[in-house]
Amino acid sequence: MQTAEVKKKKKFIAILALLFLLIIMMFFFSVSTGVIKIAPGDVIRTLLQNGTAKQELILFEFRLPGIVLALLIGAGLAVSGVILQAITQNELADPGILGINTGAGLAVVLFIYFFQGDFVSASQWSIFMMPFAALLGAIGAAFLIYVLAWKNGVNPIRLVLVGIGVNAGFGAFLTIFQLKMDPQDFRQASVWLTGDIWNANWTFVGALLPWILILIPIALSKAYGLNVLHLGDDLAKGLGTSVERERQMLLLIAVALAGASVAAGGGIAFLGLVVPHIARKLLGPLHQYIIPLSTLIGALLLMVSDTIGKNLLAPTQIPVGIVVSILSAPYFIYLLIKAK
């Protein structure tokens, strides 16, 4: 028993190191590719403040904020998915499918609509307020779904169906409001419906970073609770966990992570669904492993998707959410076929 535990720890550290390596490699690849290429050597030189003014501009003002945002959003959505799947005991749960992302997106659009009128003039103050608006929307959505799915308790199947319905409803409101603001621009609407890193700058990084840095460690500290809840309510009660309180606390963390991520990245679907499955495949169901792994896999996956979206059909930029959907929908279908 002891040796199995040690083996698992070793494997965990090895995968973690591998993921770090992949992220760093992908990071350099991602930074150096684009309409204007910068050689990896130049990237390092520029990062060490020794690049040309042009390289510095491209790197620090355009590419880095987008990449850092992709890493943060990917991590946030993935961990949110981990928590949601554990507490609903539903392997097909995800902030996107359940409608939490769309709720957060709607709140952000309403916030912009009522306080500024358009997307271009987003001030520093309002950027820092956006995650809070998104959080309110996400909490509202989660609450609505929970209430609507309640019928002598919440059954996981009903939860998913209600989530799909609520998602469609928020989507319709989004379309209406979006077109009120800018009747022609469907591309903006796609930010909130499918997800796009729509305003890549350092202010947004600053607004999102504290949420990720605080909430993911909290989630990790509750790994034991997640393990227990994942086993089912009866067992959790038997093991002395106050199920409802623990679940509500964790739900709040998941919703906050999703909300903050949506404020910066729109309604990216499927990422929070697929990543936890990959993590579980790699190292089994224990959340003290799944959460760190999912953080890194989510970050990596979104950075890769972002790079693909920016370069595959350049100069056409594909919104990152669309790339994620195309990459992960087949995996979702595979999970669906396998599920009972």
Partner: protein, 337 residues
């Protein structure tokens, strides 16, 4: 299925006739309401004593009448498609938009516009039939491979997955070929820009699809009681299902090629008509057509009212009406167990 009256034919006929009159009335409202309101009397004259020198008559003949007729036909087609799907699969959530069929048709349309921009209108319509067929084929493949078949929740999730994937590929193509405006139109759904050519196209495909639907309606009733029962009664289920799918593809494909992905009409209307008309699909299919037409004509009027002078996509309106209904179904039979 509960029915609110027990199969008294005269009452059903009266209800259908009433819905028909209401439909004509709302078509009248739809034609007279717009950026410039036109009096009912003028509408009447424009139709029966057309005078090409009057602008109002021109507007009615060239813009508003085709639009109102398109709305009615598209609504009818989607509702009939939904009724056939629900009858054949005995699945309360089956409908063109939930199953991603509308997304499939839009996918094929954008692909054709991107790669064969000079395709004539008929080619576009045929491609939307094929796109709708692609989505249906994908859903049934998922159903065939999955353990326990397509339960309502699996059907809904498979529809979400297929729909999202097709829509994503559609978006990428549209962004690359600068078809964003067309994309927005097809994803959100809309009836502005409907012309007599569209009405003609709808009528031709509609007559074929609808006749097939009526022809198999009795067999669908039997099928809706259970597959074993149908076999026991000596019915060729495969043949009926093939004809049903054919009818769905024609009706949904034609509807999407004219109005884009208008959601939820095919979900709600069959449930309402089943509630009123009972379980006999010989009644359900024709009255679904009438009620579907009524719903979409009204939704189209609302879509012009809500943010005038701009138009709101009619698909957003039908979603707002449809979502509470979907939730009701999800809480009841769909999500039960």
């Amino acid at each position: 299925m509960l029915s609110f009256m027990n199969h008294s034919s005269p009452l059903k006929i009266i209800l259908n006739v009433a819905a028909m009159i209401l439909l004509l009335l709302f078509i009248g409202v739809s034609v007279s309401y717009g950026t410039t309101n036109i009096h009912f009397a003028t509408v009447w004259q424009a139709i029966f004593h057309f005078n090409p020198n009057l602008t109002s008559h021109q507007v009615i003949q060239e813009l508003r009448l085709p639009r109102a007729f398109s709305a009615a036909l598209v609504g009818a087609f989607l509702a009939v498609s939904g009724a056939i799907m629900q009858g054949m699969t005995r699945n309360p959530l089956a409908s063109p938009s939930i199953m991603g069929v509308t997304d499939g048709a839009a996918f094929a349309l954008v692909m054709m516009l991107a790669f064969f921009p000079h395709l004539p209108g008929a080619g576009l319509t045929v491609s939307s039939f094929i796109g709708a067929g692609l989505a249906v084929a994908l859903i049934f493949t998922i159903g065939a491979f999955s353990k326990g078949g397509l339960t309502p929740v699996k059907l809904a999730l498979a529809g979400v997955a297929i729909g999202t994937m097709l829509r994503s590929i559609t978006s990428v193509t549209a962004f690359h070929f600068n078809l964003e405006k067309e994309l927005g139109f097809w994803i959100a759904g809309g009836l502005d820009g409907s012309s007599w050519a569209h009405v003609k196209l709808l009528l031709i495909s509609g007559i074929i699809g609808f006749l097939v639907a009526v022809f198999i309606s009795k067999s669908i009733t039997v099928l809706s009681l259970g597959e074993d029962m149908a076999i026991g009664l000596g019915q060729n289920n495969l043949m009926i299902k093939a004809l049903g799918v054919f009818s769905i593809l024609i009706l949904t494909g034609a509807a999407v090629s004219v109005a884009g992905a208008v959601g939820f009409v095919g979900l709600i209307v069959p449930h309402i008509t089943r509630f009123i008309m009972g379980t006999d699909y010989r009644w359900i299919i024709p009255s679904s057509a009438i009620f579907g037409a009524l719903l979409l004509v009204v939704a189209d009027i609302v879509s012009r009212l809500i943010n005038a002078p701009f138009e709101t996509p009619v698909g957003a309106i039908t979603s707002l009406i449809g979502v509470p209904f979907f939730l009701y179904l999800a809480r009841g039979s769909g999500g039960g167990k």
